[in-house]
Amino acid sequence: AALKDGLRSQVSAALKEGRVTPTELCQRCLALIKSTKFLNAYITVAEETALKQAEESEERYKRGQPLGILDGIPIAVKDNFNTAGIETTCASNMLKGYISPYNATVVQKLLDQGAVLLGKTNLDEFAMGSGSTDGVFGPVRNPWSYSKQYKEKSVPKFHSEDEESNWVITGGSSGGSAAAVSSFTCFAALGSDTGGSTRNPAAHCGVVGLKPTYGLISRHGLIPLVNSMDVPGILTRCVDDAAVLLGSLAGHDPKDSTTIQDDFKPFELPNLTDLSKLSVGIPKEYHAPGLSSEILALWSKAADLFRNAGAKVVEVSLPHTRYSIVCYHVLCTAEVASNMARFDGLEYGHRSDMKDSTESMYAATRREGFNDVVRGRILSGNYFLLKQNYEKYFVKAQKVRRLIANDFVKVFRSGVDILLTPTTLSDAAPYAEFIQEDNRTRSAQDDILTQAANMAGLPAINVPTALSERGLPVGLQFIGRSFQEKQLLTVAKWFEKQVQFPVIQLEEVKRHDSGVFQHQKSASFS
């Protein structure tokens, strides 16, 4: 099997038939991780345990008893999910050296189905940011920076300077996971999504990024940022694969009281042929200031695509959209202030040498452990939660949140099935340019199109759509009704098939992908 293949249709079959073995797949991925180290996508590579898992999987295939489609499939996990026996750092000094005593539920589920855990991916510190540039292990580089497609479009200056200074960001905060999937070092990766942290890097890295409905997938073991908005995110190379992952992860977890109790039935995605009963909404407020003309044109083209295929395409209004980012800012910092309080050095993580008193030890530990971004959000959050500010800011934001959620309810009640919007304002920025603004400003700008879905708890997905003039990926976003992932993914799959997003052309991948199936066609092959 080639690294490019879709899980259900190709890789799984190849494994069952013995055309490739789990150890071969694992070794190929590990080798590719080594040769793409400059991307800095991985914080920890769990080589030994991964190979062991691959061997166990191989035994199962030999006995003809694979656990399922995911048996033997190499995956990566964002480093804010607890993984037993493997360091979990959240890209922070606060948790350097912290070895989780347990697996997050989603990790356990993947392992129970035989998936091979290759390692933990890089992120912004504690998932705060939209660039994957603010972690202690350094920024993640977008694999597309090194693609033939991008290099062809870059204005050549001095050749040797180019590669070093021209590289673009992955977006964030799940940048490591997005880069890992985009560069073929794994077949799927887990991210997290609180304000767009899975969809944003998915758009910039040209991969599928799914944010499930809040309450569908367990957050147990996901180190929390905003308890009322966080969800585990799924990053894959095609929509079908996202459905496979969703099927393995969704469902009630007694260890997470915010998961719904409804039965979840995993599904395969049908091939949509009749769009006449589909109503697609185009929210006018998503034509946000700063939206690049390129993306605006693509969005428009996509709307036409649906219209020409027989769907009903209507302009709709979500009037409170522009307050979503402000609302998020207050609620996020407030919940962060609370969630970060657990890091005091006593039970786990970094501990300062300060011994004068408990409080001074806590203060020193937190001073040493957290970066500026995290400290800034904690302080802002505490400000909004002060007695004199509580009603004015926190409760006010909660009220605005209801208005935002109601905007969506009204639109979906009016007969619209799904919303089509851009995911990001532009293609990925060069790192040198991105870091000129501070984290809060960038997050406020970059989350604008993705944030409201978290506010309302709705499922949303980024589908890679086309390459920009600079040769970088641009994606479009679909937002669906609560718990209607099947419809959301079905439409996304149809769209993916129409746009035929090009495969990234990376030297490193060509070398490693001996391509038993060079001629394989996946949804993303043109």
Partner: protein
Amino acid sequence: QKVSVEVLDHLEQLALVDFRDLEGVERLQKAIQFADQLHEVNTDGVEPMDSVLEDRCLYLREDNVTEGNCTKELLENAREKEEEYFVAPPGNIPLPKLEERETFLQHS
């Protein structure tokens, strides 16, 4: 309206995190300015929303012990411990006051 030094000091004590420098303080100022946009929205008669799942019942289970006995694992990640205790420095000692603390705010 700038945030007073008293409030900044209070925040440092509540959060047990420091502003560190002028940039840190300005960061807060900007955050407040940004948040003030919320007041443009009319929220008369609107109830605050705690959770998007507010219409559902919380899951309850039988009050039986199903897991635990993991003292050893939990203690492994602590730097300072004694038998089965986490060891903390002496408590009940308040942080030094602003004048006596080493904090950027002293110079504001």
